[in-house]
Amino acid sequence: MNISRRHILVLLPAAALAWKHVLAGTPEDSPNYKLSEHWWGMLIDIPKCIGCGNCVRACQAENDVPDGFFRTWVERYHVSDYHLENPEVISPDGGKEGFPVAQEDNGKYFFVPKMCNHCSDSPCTQVCPVGATFVTPDGVVLIDQTYCLGCAYCVQACPYGCRYIHPTKKVADKCTLCYHRITKGLTTACCEACPTGARQLADLKNPNDPIHEFLKTHAVQVLKPQMATGAKAFYNGLDGSVR
């Protein structure tokens, strides 16, 4: 075969492009992940939370969450004596930089990390008029941001206030349970960054997941159980004053 200079000029860039594609590969692929083998949730252990804000910062770094918006945030409750119905709740900048020092008094303090509850009967997915948000077969509530219109019905429907309209993308945004991580066998960014183990990713379909033992041996509650959302963020030691 006779290859002329002209041929090489044409072939070289093509070969370079092909080689670049080979080099780049598909590093983020997760070929061994099967949707039907997982059912994701989260365990939040309130007595272990110290309100350091590591989870909030980690979430913002991992998911490019814009300033002033939160996929997860931490609230500090202060329930003074006899005032279970009127707790004083603060969350300065989502608890991102921690909390002001609290002084001992006759009430009680505790931290409540909040995030999308990845409800199995989620109100937010039911109101979407275009099918842009959905519960995946492995139990994660996701948003197809290329399909979302930004109507914000879901933002209003979420009983937990976990959604917002992204200020520049103008579409709904929320916690994905770090779907790009858990499908690769990693834990979520918030769990990775939590220094006390107050947050733990749970795979309810995995019989070896410690979540099963924990649920059996602890008094665990979800937020707003009366709304029957099928929430999968399980709170250990949840106080009655938490809304």
Binding site: G131, T146, H180
Partner: protein
């Protein structure tokens, strides 16, 4: 066939309906994404798209592959369950190509205080100190090895720590008086 003699307008209507339906069908074929309805009333391909986002936190397993000494020290200390990136920040870029990015050493004065500053709001069993009172401005890492923070739990730092703690606190309290 006399019954259908005056029915021509009905057939024209029917024809219009058929054409309208075909037009709708063709447009729908173009507009609705192929994977829509694969798993439910949404675009099935969106799941894989979201799963393919790049990660920023490498995960402690990745860190421990190279930094075996630190992992070893940490595994024996009180910070055994604190993952590397809880303090050092998101370092997937460093894990993928260590030369492309070198992590900055965290400032222990900010970092340690974030968790260990005493507050009535924190769980009672959690180790907490008033930073001003506890160290008087001496950086935490002077006495504590962050990877194994209990003084005396790590042979390498203990000797240094005792020396600097003695001089450091003396100097500091001297300064405070």
């Amino acid at each position: 066939m006399s019954g259908l003699k005056d029915a021509g307008h009905l057939f024209r209507f029917l024809g219009l309906f058929v054409i309208a339906f075909l037009v709708f069908w063709v447009i729908r074929g173009y507009v609705v994404p192929r994977s829509f309805g694969e798993y439910g009333h949404y675009r099935g391909a969106a799941i894989a798209e979201i799963a393919s986002h790049p990660i920023k936190f490498a995960g402690h397993q990745a860190c421990e592959q190279c930094h075996t000494d630190e992992a070893d020290t940490k595994s024996k200390g009180a910070h055994v369950h604190v993952n590397c990136e809880a303090c050092h920040g998101a370092l997937a870029q460093h894990a993928n190509d260590p030369t492309s990015m070198t992590p900055v050493k965290p400032d222990s004065a900010v970092l340690c205080a974030r968790c260990h500053t005493a507050s009535a709001a924190k769980p009672k069993g959690f180790p907490q100190v008033d930073p001003a009172d506890h160290s008087n401005g001496v950086p935490c890492a002077t006495c504590h090895n962050p990877h194994s923070p209990v003084i005396g739990s790590d042979a390498k730092t203990t000797a240094d720590a005792k020396k600097t703690a003695a001089t450091g606190t003396k100097a500091a309290t001297g300064g405070a008086k």
